[in-house]
């Protein structure tokens, strides 16, 4: 009786806007295998690198996430985990390492210094590596606890699971402006690098 309804006439099958069943299953498979075996490239510079090593050690164990194979060659890595502060002298090195990683690649900015310059608001430190390379996940902390880093990694895994192969823009390599080497406008970089909020008042010396 109530089951003899036919589908309403307004439902149409529109393959251009909906993912097909095969594409979603394929996406799921590909993303599952990618996210559960992300090989990290630990770009460890300072204290966060020690917490990264502690995360990889026995108590917190990155191997559960498929990440125990640290790839120190960027050519074989999936995730660049920038752990630690990045001074200006190291900026071209980081850019070069990012460019050497093949797609698909992601970036985790671990710690306050990699995310925003941290407590080093001075002449020497890049105020956030997102001014140099595109970042997927920011993990706050100084240094983040290993649980914090693991949360960030799990967040990246969820991000990877949400990717779609049909989205062609997702694997685009970011191209810096050949003249200046910057990949976001200079005014945006200056805006991101300004001291903000409470940190302006901390020193009471106006600086």
């Amino acid at each position: 009786m109530g089951l003899s309804q036919v589908a309403p006439a307004s439902t149409t099958f529109a393959p251009a806007t909906q993912e097909s069943w095969i594409a979603t299953r394929l996406d799921f498979l590909v993303n599952l295998s990618r996210s559960k075996s992300l090989w990290p490239m630990p770009f460890g510079t300072a204290c966060c690198a020690i917490e990264f090593m502690a995360t990889a050690a026995t108590r917190f164990d990155l191997a559960r996430f498929g990440m125990e194979r640290m790839s120190f060659s960027p050519r074989q890595a999936d995730v660049l985990i920038c752990a630690g502060r990045v001074p200006f002298k190291l900026a071209p090195v980081l850019r070069r390492i990012w460019q050497q990683m093949p797609q698909p690649k992601w970036c985790i900015s671990m710690g306050a210094c990699a995310s925003s310059g941290g407590m080093f608001d001075n002449y020497a430190v890049v105020q956030g590596i997102d001014t140099i390379i595109p970042v997927d996940v920011y993990v706050p902390g100084c240094p983040p606890r290993p649980e914090g880093l693991l949360y960030g990694i799990m967040m990246l895994q969820e991000k990877v699971m949400r990717e779609k192969m049909s989205d062609s823009a997702i694997r685009n390599e970011m191209e810096p402006d050949p003249a200046s080497g910057l990949y976001i406008p200079a005014s945006k970089i200056d805006e991101l690098s300004e001291p903000f909020g409470n940190s302006v008042q901390q020193t009471r010396s106006g600086l």
Binding site: A91, L182, A186, D190
Partner: protein
């Protein structure tokens, strides 16, 4: 010390005496002076300006003209034997009238003594002082850092170039008081300069001379480098 590896014990030149102890109730000024201060005043009266004892440390102020002579004497003389150079650094005061001081921290292991030497340099004139590298090899990087951060030239240093900042760093000398905390250029400009260090500039001319790598560079790079373009770090 006949063989290089016979144990060297600090305090070997002190005959008897109590074992060293944690200093207590150190007076702010006054207090027992390091006997080397009086010895320097007696041996180098032309270089000696004054000495003072602050919080237990003896500081000797010297004129810069014969610094290497004083330091060599402190190293070689059997009554002084300052065999260990702990630090070379500089201090610029907030008062613009006050001179910039270059500071050496010397330690005598046989006598267990600590001495601070200072040479004040007037700010209007070029900041030049003798290098102590001929006496202490450990001064190599310490003096390079002083040059990098303050712009002080050390006469006689074998290889005085920037060490912490990159060689083509154009903003100045960071630890000077007239250098702002966040640098002179905007953040985007600093990033632009940092990212533009040329690839071939990552090697100094000395390094490129190895393996005749210089000849392997393309013609235009060779022309630019031999024309004096400052290479990277």
């Amino acid at each position: 010390m006949s063989s290089p590896f016979a144990p060297v014990l600090p305090g070997s030149a002190i005959a008897g005496g109590a074992a060293p102890a944690t200093p207590r109730d150190v007076p702010e000024r006054g207090g027992p002076a390091n006997p080397s201060a009086a010895a320097i005043a007696a041996t180098f009266p032309a270089s000696f300006i004054r000495s003072e004892v602050v919080w237990g440390d003896t500081t000797v102020y010297l004129r810069g003209d014969n610094l290497i002579g004083v330091v060599r004497w402190l190293h070689d003389d059997p009554s002084q034997r300052y065999d260990y150079l702990s630090d070379v650094t500089a201090v610029e005061y907030r008062d613009p009238e006050q001179e910039l001081e270059v500071v050496w921290h010397l330690r005598s292991l046989p006598y267990r003594r600590f001495l601070r030497l200072k040479v004040p340099l007037a700010k209007g004139a070029p900041l030049v002082v003798d290098s102590v590298w001929p006496v202490y090899k450990g001064a190599d990087w310490l003096e390079r850092e002083c040059y990098d951060m303050f712009g002080i030239t050390f006469r006689g240093h074998p290889d005085l170039r920037r060490i912490l900042m990159w060689e083509s760093f154009r903003e100045g000398f960071p630890l000077r008081k007239d250098f702002p905390l966040r640098g002179r250029f905007s953040r985007a400009e600093q990033l632009r300069q940092a990212l533009s260090i040329t690839t071939e500039g990552r090697y100094s001319m000395e390094e490129l001379s190895v393996a005749q790598a210089f000849e392997d560079l393309p013609e235009d790079m060779r022309r630019r480098l031999s024309g004096g373009e400052r290479t990277g770090e």
